[in-house]
Symmetry: C2
Subunit: 228 residues, 2 copies
């Protein structure tokens, strides 16, 4: 996490997402622009959270580690999203792992500077109730995905969310397959079989140490409404 | 849903759960004591919600209907619990079905009378943020239960939550088994096999049209921390 001293870029994001409208008071003086580099964690389960983060650019995956030691994918985060809203009210520790999948920017408010102001601000509190409501609805829907959709659909959604465009325009899907099978709540063998199905369908092609997406529309059709 | 005119009983529940402490203003004049009779719905998916309900006595199951038409159990509600907190802020329709498993009481606040007061009340809004945070954490954990725990554990938890003590002291588990298999995210056949396992273990005994719980401790051990 790197603090970026770029007032113009900070103002751009504040305007783009109307961050001023969230608060009754002017909070600009407390706002910091933060860069998380690819694969960095914004928060980890059970760690103390020091900031409210407004996720304004990039992509992140949200997962928990189950009692049996396996990871489980809960959601993908895209702008605009708030992190730490749950924790600031109850002063609890982070309940999920949020890892960025590409370089990502957040506008951050340090808890210890703003907590007393925000807990008395009905406008901010209404915003937070709304944001928590949305997360709760999303959580209910995503929680049913593992039961409702075959792995092929979940995998298509995962590939779309995590693939990276290279300099030469190739859409590249890589990552630790063992880890991905856990995130998607399946076995390694079933994941391999399903990757091979997607290859037969012409959606992806196996390369040396990654998969190339060759027909993105096939993946989009399969992914439809998942993990929104 | 029946409005009960019993000021003493109403006051008893208000005191028991310190409902006064939730609000900055005195809201007693708006509070109504409501009885939901066994199997009645407090809310149904996509219906408009007219009240915030404080669930003060009884037991309810919370479920959604998936896109494939099957039901999925999300949680059990016991006192103390708030319903409608999500909906009052965003004015959205109910996102789950909440059906009471026994006669249950709620203290209700009519939306249209209290909404303007509550949305300006930081104390109530903080309470709601907290309550939504807890629901969100619970939802995350419960969402992983279907992946993490075998059906036997989930079924034990379900039997404990839904069984009824008869007049002669028998703990009786009944219900539509097809419906129960859907709620638990499994097949009818797998449910029957698992009921038969619990019978072999001496936890339950098959009767004419119900199961009798004969060793509740076996079920408690299996259920442990599920669907909290």
């Amino acid at each position: 996490m790197i603090k970026i001293d770029d007032e113009n870029l900070k103002d751009k994001y504040i305007k783009k997402y109307n961050l001023d409208n969230i608060f009754s008071n002017d909070m600009k003086e407390y706002m910091e622009l933060i860069l998380f580099e690819k694969n960095e964690f914004i928060c980890r389960e059970n760690e103390k959270i020091e900031y409210i983060f407004f996720f304004v650019k990039g992509k992140a995956k949200v997962y928990i580690v189950l009692q049996n030691g396996k990871s489980l994918l809960l959601s993908f985060y895209y702008p605009f999203m708030v992190l730490g809203d749950l924790e600031i009210v109850s002063l609890s520790r982070a309940s999920t792992n949020v890892q960025v999948l590409e370089d990502s920017y957040c506008i951050a408010l340090p808890f210890y500077k703003v907590r007393n102001i925000l807990l008395e601000d009905p406008r901010y509190l209404r915003f937070t109730c709304n944001s928590l409501s949305k997360k709760l609805k999303k959580s209910t829907i995503n929680g049913s995905i593992n039961l409702l959709y075959p792995l092929e659909n979940r995998l298509a959604s995962y590939i779309l969310a995590t693939s990276q465009r290279t300099n030469v325009g190739v859409l590249k899907f890589s990552g630790n397959l063992m880890e991905i099978s856990e995130l998607l709540g399946t076995s390694y063998r079933h994941l391999l079989r399903t990757l091979s199905n997607l290859t037969s369908k012409g959606a992806i092609r196996k390369r040396s140490n990654y998969y190339e997406v060759i027909e993105i529309e096939i993946l989009k059709d399969l992914a439809s409404e998942l993990y929104k």
